[in-house]
Symmetry: C2
Subunit: 193 residues, 2 copies
DNA sequence: GACTAATCGACCGTTTAGTTCTAAGAAAAT
DNA sequence: ATTTTCTTAGAACTAAACGGTCGATTAGTC
């Protein structure tokens, strides 16, 4: 036994690439298997179904995203810069974590119940992260907010709005500028005068 | 009658995008039809088969490539610069004309006989183009060559060698440098001392 | 050699996707 | 107004593809 978990991870990594290229439906078990130089049926020794592999892929990408964002919010610097950086990192993740975002956005995948859970988990995490940034901003008297929870929701909504054009046509053209613009607008209502 | 040919072109343009995203096999008639807000069977009023659409897409992209390269070789300037530019334009086309290159390279598509013809046509065109550049170089005494036909073949072979890594992993990292290096090497044997 | 871990080819039932057919709406011609 | 031609698309057909199962087989360990 070489360690079942190791191979599971290899499958997840490999499947992740194929899923992100073709999407869930267009990806076949045959392809996943071949990318690992295995027979199709061997994959079923490690996962019960294609759906389960997808779930593992999503989980993995969610973990990666969480780590990235976590690192940003823990970094030192003034809260304004951190919030900017947070938004940028989040948007850039689109390219790498396409399965995760597919799962969050794609209507075709609605029927998977774990997607719904993932969406909730994602929202909660994001709001908590943003709220933490805002809270630190209030503490250090950079921001002037009554209710950080509500403000976090507002910021998250704005960020989500940016995702839609980014998701539909993948090019990032103009997004960085719009991102700055939005964050700027947010700041004019937030930053202490 | 709105003009059948116009709609055929619209189908080719739309199908081109989908093919380049998913490849021939993974692209469905349904998708092509939907992208034009038509029923699947309506497409068959304009094309006999999926394969025929693909053929038209390839032809179209080949035309585009030919025009681009044609413009380069007709441009004025010293032959060395033109050859450099030619190589660069050719490599950059990879991103836009992915179906065409897929047809040229992808082994899975071998069974289509029009692909074979396309490959031949492409090779002949390319060699003629390169030969023309070299010939002009000889005329203007920039190059020193006995046999421009043979030299053209050599240059084309070198360019083809560059395509392979470019095709496999799509990133262009390092390709520009390698391109310059190869052209440089070619020049050391070609340029008049 | 016996036991287990891991792999794979063959196969099954179902779905999908390319293609055909037909009917019918829209537009043009008479 | 009616006939004819152009254009569309749903339904039906058929072959292939796909997810998944199973039993047999190989590789590895004690």
């Amino acid at each position: 036994m070489v360690d079942k978990e190791k191979i599971r991870q290899k499958i997840v990594l490999s499947a992740s690439e194929i899923f992100s290229r073709y999407g869930f439906k267009k990806t076949t078990m045959e392809e996943i298997a071949k990318s690992l130089s295995k027979g199709k049926s061997s994959i079923y020794y490690y996962f019960h179904s294609k759906e389960e592999i997808f779930e593992a892929v999503i989980d993995h990408e969610a973990q990666v995203l969480k780590n990235q964002l976590s690192k940003v919010i823990k970094s030192s610097g003034d809260p304004e810069q951190i919030l900017r950086k947070y938004a940028k990192v989040r948007m850039r993740s689109f390219e790498k974590l396409s399965n995760y975002y597919d799962a969050i956005f794609n209507r075709d995948l609605d029927h998977f119940d774990f997607i719904e859970k993932q969406r909730e988990k994602y929202d909660l995490m994001e709001i908590a992260f943003i709220r933490y940034i805002l809270w630190r901003g209030v503490q250090s008297e950079h921001f002037n907010l009554e209710n950080t929870g509500l403000a976090a929701l507002a910021v998250q909504t704005a960020l989500k709005g940016l995702e839609i054009p980014l998701f539909w046509h993948k090019r990032r053209y103009g997004i960085d500028a719009r991102l700055d613009a939005i964050v700027d607008i947010l700041f004019y209502g937030i930053v202490r005068k």
